[in-house]
Symmetry: D3
Subunit: 277 residues, 6 copies
Amino acid sequence: MIEELYISRLLNYLEEDAYPEDVTSRFLEGIRARGVVKSRDEGIIAGLRFIVPFLKYLGLEVIAHKRDGEAIHRGDAIIEVVGDASRLLAVERLTLNLLSRLSGIATATGTMVKLARSINPMVRVAGTRKTTPGFRAFEKYAIEVGGGDPHRFNLADAVLIKDNHIAIYGNLERLIRLVKEGTSFMRKVEVEVSTYEDAIRAYRAGADAILLDNMRPSDIAPIVGELKGRVILEASGGITLDNVVEYARTGVDIISSGYITHSSRALDLTMDAEGMQ
Amino acid sequence: MIEELYISRLLNYLEEDAYPEDVTSRFLEGIRARGVVKSRDEGIIAGLRFIVPFLKYLGLEVIAHKRDGEAIHRGDAIIEVVGDASRLLAVERLTLNLLSRLSGIATATGTMVKLARSINPMVRVAGTRKTTPGFRAFEKYAIEVGGGDPHRFNLADAVLIKDNHIAIYGNLERLIRLVKEGTSFMRKVEVEVSTYEDAIRAYRAGADAILLDNMRPSDIAPIVGELKGRVILEASGGITLDNVVEYARTGVDIISSGYITHSSRALDLTMDAEGMQ
Amino acid sequence: MIEELYISRLLNYLEEDAYPEDVTSRFLEGIRARGVVKSRDEGIIAGLRFIVPFLKYLGLEVIAHKRDGEAIHRGDAIIEVVGDASRLLAVERLTLNLLSRLSGIATATGTMVKLARSINPMVRVAGTRKTTPGFRAFEKYAIEVGGGDPHRFNLADAVLIKDNHIAIYGNLERLIRLVKEGTSFMRKVEVEVSTYEDAIRAYRAGADAILLDNMRPSDIAPIVGELKGRVILEASGGITLDNVVEYARTGVDIISSGYITHSSRALDLTMDAEGMQ
Amino acid sequence: MIEELYISRLLNYLEEDAYPEDVTSRFLEGIRARGVVKSRDEGIIAGLRFIVPFLKYLGLEVIAHKRDGEAIHRGDAIIEVVGDASRLLAVERLTLNLLSRLSGIATATGTMVKLARSINPMVRVAGTRKTTPGFRAFEKYAIEVGGGDPHRFNLADAVLIKDNHIAIYGNLERLIRLVKEGTSFMRKVEVEVSTYEDAIRAYRAGADAILLDNMRPSDIAPIVGELKGRVILEASGGITLDNVVEYARTGVDIISSGYITHSSRALDLTMDAEGMQ
Amino acid sequence: MIEELYISRLLNYLEEDAYPEDVTSRFLEGIRARGVVKSRDEGIIAGLRFIVPFLKYLGLEVIAHKRDGEAIHRGDAIIEVVGDASRLLAVERLTLNLLSRLSGIATATGTMVKLARSINPMVRVAGTRKTTPGFRAFEKYAIEVGGGDPHRFNLADAVLIKDNHIAIYGNLERLIRLVKEGTSFMRKVEVEVSTYEDAIRAYRAGADAILLDNMRPSDIAPIVGELKGRVILEASGGITLDNVVEYARTGVDIISSGYITHSSRALDLTMDAEGMQ
Amino acid sequence: MIEELYISRLLNYLEEDAYPEDVTSRFLEGIRARGVVKSRDEGIIAGLRFIVPFLKYLGLEVIAHKRDGEAIHRGDAIIEVVGDASRLLAVERLTLNLLSRLSGIATATGTMVKLARSINPMVRVAGTRKTTPGFRAFEKYAIEVGGGDPHRFNLADAVLIKDNHIAIYGNLERLIRLVKEGTSFMRKVEVEVSTYEDAIRAYRAGADAILLDNMRPSDIAPIVGELKGRVILEASGGITLDNVVEYARTGVDIISSGYITHSSRALDLTMDAEGMQ
């Protein structure tokens, strides 16, 4: 990863919070201070990859006690940051906001992966495009840190023919054929279906992957029985920590979940600071 | 609000998802279609203020059945969008991501306001700066739609002397005095404390507001007894839907909660589309 | 395609040329004029998709006599533009630069497609990432207009393990396995090789596509004989209009060429303008 | 030159290719590697001025064996780059795309300069505004590296009254007078003509330079005979390596050519990489 | 202050002046030079906080003889800058433009503060939003350097109900009440009036501050007599160095002046450069 | 002029003032209002060219009673703006700031032109690069509106060899020769001198224009006597309304003045608004 590509984004985020001036912390300018980011939660830490170089870019010294993907526990020190107090405190909230949100996503992903693989060791848990506008690259990164598959970054990197495409176009097979002819050979083509029959049709029309949308595990099982190993099978729609095991048990290759990005709980992180003599 | 100030942000969000090309929906170019955004959830809708002008900017026709702040129920149609199918589907996900996240925040805020005011009709529920990096203006807006107080937009628009400031500076009264002398007369000064004694000291030193951080309701009550009406009193720290009533009962003026932005659940919205003859 | 996503790019291009002021054309302000973009060349027109909405955005009236992908001949009128002379002439050069470059790429692509398919009707001609920095989306579009396959838009949308990756990593099979485990199921994996043996190894290790780099047609033929239909086969490296037929004859699925973007000749277009009474 | 003014442009170019992640090269993270940019072509190298500081900005070590403007030959090593393999390979294509395009322009310019001066040692070869949108500053730089004159950077830095201006305005002399009165004394005024008579008229009306557009050398010669030394004379229109000598022989001061930017062939450069123990 | 938040702004300013190339100073590339910024004026220096880090960012060595807020006199050396001559001279004008404008504002502010406090030691002199578009953060900073109060940074950080708001809405008290209910508790509410009666009404309706607009000192005095100490009183409208003492004498808390930003004279600064052997 | 090139700049300026929300004017949303921009000053209006299209872009209706360059008097209505009150008032300050600053510059320029031409009808008054960072294009425009010559837009559009260049390089003639050889034929070359001897030397070395810097009129006169008509002669340095006549009397071609941009007084404009039934 070229972390430099993220610096200007992080500067924009800091500008959102601290421009033109942190009217509180400015009064501490000239005092050297140390801040320790600590966890008040259990989970998987994510986001250090972005934050550590950024804090260094701002001239702060950083000691990282953890790396992205490591488990963290209540009371763990994650990073220590030393520098001018006015600067340390101006960037505190951005640091915590980014780490706690990404760690929340990584943690939810990790939990889901663990649950799913307890019953189906080969299954992958994937994200979706249900991310916060403007913040997707960070959230997709967090999914990977949590052991998940990022799925599509955007609408340009793979084809996914969804229910609305089919509803508008009218004919599943013809649409798949049209798409396969007109799409780069380097892009995969996935098709969303919600019945056994459509799954078979999509497979026969040449889909690389089939997304079984909003289907019950009991309806998915026969499709897996028929198509497993011949096409990638993905289950999606309303999958959370509560029901992921049942979906994993069906034998699908991929379980994707919007929950891990749009509704996961942020990890509770805090920073304790003190002056340094 | 000058909605034009948000158009380029929304274009950037669309670019994140759909640049240089939606390689699926492009195959539907030339087909006229209608999409209806529907709710599969209960709550308060927020974000139409941004999305409706944006969809119109993109040349789509929009009929809005709801306005920001209205209650929505399972099955409600929120907006109808008509236009070229390739365009409608390329912007579907951004539309849903923005509305569902903002509505989730508005809904959580609204619930908290209702709970808090059931016991303390004058109390305000406020947000915090615990927002998604880059997306704060939208999330603060959603708080207001839900009936909450946005609190500070950023570090420049009011002073909040927090625990870390005091820990580093060393003396509460001297820091408050320093800040009041050096801060514009147009900015309020709030001070975060966690004991009765510090609350009294902050009040005497001239704070406009006092943030009672991570204190139990039982510890807050005597402070309210002493200072109510003489200074604005805000309770904060770990307040969620589960305990907000207890905090409201203390008689504080303001209850602020990071939960409503960093950990609220997105509302479940969907779009159903069909071709038009 | 959401043309609005390109408007700000085109404005930046116009700014490059005409900011803060076209110090010549300003003297014609207030005179209504018509300009006709004409061809002095043979080829395929490309770029109207961007330029026509942009000229309209600038308040000019446009009549398009051609659409992207149509053949143009010496003397053909492509578009007519009417409006204030100062504005028409300020945007003339950008209009011509964009159209002539994209049409040059589309024309070279079209010629190559025609040649290749004369011997191998199923073969696809693909572009590469050898594009002008900052201008790739336009150039990839021109490839498609010319009948080609855009190949990867960027390094994020598919995996291509190249000679340098293998040289650095050291073991072809292990690298392919590592990549396949760590890459999203929605991304294809292509491997670049330059010998028969490596092609077989890449196939066996699970590559979705194999790029035969800088190999003679005679060396490619046996690989096609062995792997055709079991994996996508792409020939690349030094392929131009002069030798594309020989490569097509090998039976590969894909022929990719940097030539069509980095060294194709711009089409010769011009604009004739006149005042209107 | 302030190279820092180009860093953010180059970062944008890298973002175009490698954001959010190079999904292939990421698997080589942690391996130190060396890449050598080599020539497979003859020509003049250009672009190191931008690329070398940029690679250093990205934390890579660079040894430059050549400087912009030097001749390069088949097999020459141009620069060596050392650093993390994932980073080296993510930036390889941008490095090559920029250097090969700019070197192609510098080489075409240098060849044209050499040819033109073989017969007319004082003549200058100039570029035009026929550049790739968004990329002009780089291409103008390459013209200078090749020994050419960049001509106007944009429509704001000098006046050039072209055929279309005259066609719309109607009267050559009056337009020149109008322009000279209304234009800053620090900007030159050039007038495009295509006949002997108009050249004389433009000279008499006070043009600083006269552009003889699309005229045959035999028609240019008498104008040179008449006006040489009294006004700058520039020949333009369809001038390539094939006919530049004939134009140079006419004795004009300047020969300008769109060919060197819009249709020159990119130089064939490559990077060979290997791991380092 | 996070100076990094200003670097990209300063780069944009330099780009405005020196992109793509300083066509004069480039001829001095390779010569090491020293430039000394000197004052030809009396006043208060402001802007070094931005310029010094920026010059260092550009690789120039800087010795600062003054700090923002210090008095400067005719002939004083302010900073010395050493580096490549082409770079030093390319940034000279931006350096001088920024310092001379900000110092002019700081100086006018300082003079006004001194005059006002000679008669009323507790009075504050405040700026307004009458700043140069795009340059406000710098100008507000200069006001503070001169000893002034920056007042609102923008329309979002505090409420100021002005004459036009009242004229449109129609009822002073109702508007104040509406605003106080709908505005965050962290934002102050100021009301602009121009009569004694309205001042009393605004006070009674709960304004935090009252702006006495375009009133004569003799009309302000009775309002101060009535409301001093119960609400913040600000005088504004046509206040310059000539009449500030009379306004200060009224006993108001705040005197605000657009003059100090929109019509103050730039300080006369210059740079003397010389080559270094 | 392509006004669209300025819209995004004006949006940025509005964002500086009104993002994310005008917390006062929002309370007037839904009320239709009319605002009239009036003059409380005498002068020349400038900036309508930018502001009128911008207000229309924001959906406001505008009636312009004046055009840029017209004289305005105390009490004159300049433009009327009608639309939603919240929007009208949010953009009021930007409208006034831009118009009053540009009109101040145009007025100062116009006054200087009038004075100078009263004695020397052919003289031009020119601006300098002493402009507000980031705002130059607007200020140069105002100079032209006031009847002045904008001089160089930036360091790239013409050569000006200044005292510092010569001091560093060491030899006037050699530097001029070097520059003339290396500079595009389309750029003029001006040389700054401060003695009669250097003026002659610069002329002989081929300067297109000579800037007589910080010289007394009496020292300029003999240079004009010698060089008038053979080279453009420009006087500069400390020229204000007080002494411009003396400089004009010397017979120089150009008088340039930093005063008109860096120290001119903003024109006093105001907006009166009222609700509409």
